[in-house]
C-alpha cells in the first residue's frame, strides 16, 4: 500500500465541468508534486510545492490550478479541460524539495482522468 493517497482513483468529466483531485500524505514530507503521465510515457512534472508554497510551475495551462492547504494535503483543481488532458495524474511527496541524495519521491497510485 502506498503512503500517498489520491482520490478519486478514476474521474470522467466533460469539458465544461469543474472537479478537483486530492492528495494526502502523513509522512511529514514538506515537498509535494503533481505529475501528468500519458500512456506508455514517463511522468511529466507539473507543479512543485515546498513548505506549502508553489515553487515550480512547469508552464502548465491555467485550466489546472494547484492548491496546498496544509503540509499534508495537495489539491489540483480542474476547469474547462480538453480531451488531450486525459491522463494519469500522479501526486508525490518527498521530505523536502531538492534534487539531493536521499530525497526519494513517494508516489500515490494516481487518478485516471478521462475528458469527454
Amino acid at each position: 500500500d502506498t503512503e500517498v493517497t489520491q482520490t478519486p482513483k478514476h474521474l470522467v468529466m466533460g469539458m465544461t465541468n469543474k472537479k478537483s483531485l486530492k492528495c494526502e500524505q502523513h509522512m511529514g514530507h514538506r515537498a509535494m508534486y503533481w505529475y501528468k503521465q500519458k500512456a506508455k510515457k514517463p511522468p511529466e512534472l507539473m507543479f512543485v510545492y515546498s513548505y506549502e508554497k508553489l515553487s515550480i510551475n512547469e508552464s502548465v495551462p491555467s485550466r489546472f490550478s494547484p492548491e496546498c492547504p496544509n503540509s499534508s494535503l495537495l489539491n489540483l483543481h480542474l476547469h474547462a479541460l480538453q480531451p488531450e488532458d486525459s491522463a494519469l495524474y500522479l501526486c508525490a511527496s518527498s521530505l523536502y524539495r531538492g534534487s539531493d541524495a536521499n530525497q526519494p519521491q513517494h508516489f500515490g497510485d494516481g487518478t485516471r482522468l478521462s475528458i469527454l
Partner: protein, 110 residues
C-alpha cells in the same frame, strides 16, 4: 536541462533469464533513483544510488551507479513474471529539477 536515456525501450524474456537495463546521461547527477511502475499504479521506489561506483542489491536486483555518476544499470537475476513492469530511472542535482528517463518496459513470460 539534464536528460536521461534508458535502454532497451522494450524487453521480453522468459522466466529464469537474466537481464540488464541501462540509464545514461551526458550530465552528472548527485543521485539516481530506480522505480518500477505496474499498470494502474504509481511508480514504486526501488533504490537510490548516491556514490560513484556504488553497488546496491535488493534480493535478485543489483543496481550500479557509474564512477562518473552519469549512468546506472539495473541487473535482474533469474527474472520472474512478477518483475514485469515499467522500470524508470530518475535523478537530479542541486539547482536542477528532478527528471525521469523514458523507461524500459519489461515483460517476463512464464
Amino acid at each position: 536541462t539534464q536528460l536521461l536515456e534508458q535502454s532497451p525501450q522494450f524487453l521480453s524474456i522468459q522466466e529464469g533469464e537474466n537481464l540488464t537495463v541501462y540509464c545514461n546521461s551526458s550530465s552528472v547527477f548527485s543521485s539516481l533513483q530506480w522505480y518500477r511502475q505496474e499498470p494502474g499504479e504509481g511508480p514504486v521506489l526501488l533504490v537510490t544510488v548516491v556514490t560513484g561506483g556504488e553497488v546496491k542489491k535488493l534480493k535478485r536486483l543489483t543496481f550500479q551507479f557509474g564512477d562518473a555518476r552519469k549512468d546506472s544499470s539495473l541487473h535482474i537475476t533469474a527474472a520472474q513474471p512478477g518483475d514485469t513492469g515499467l522500470y524508470l530511472c530518475a535523478g537530479g542535482s542541486p539547482g536542477q529539477n528532478f527528471v525521469f528517463g523514458p523507461g524500459t518496459r519489461l515483460s517476463v513470460l512464464p
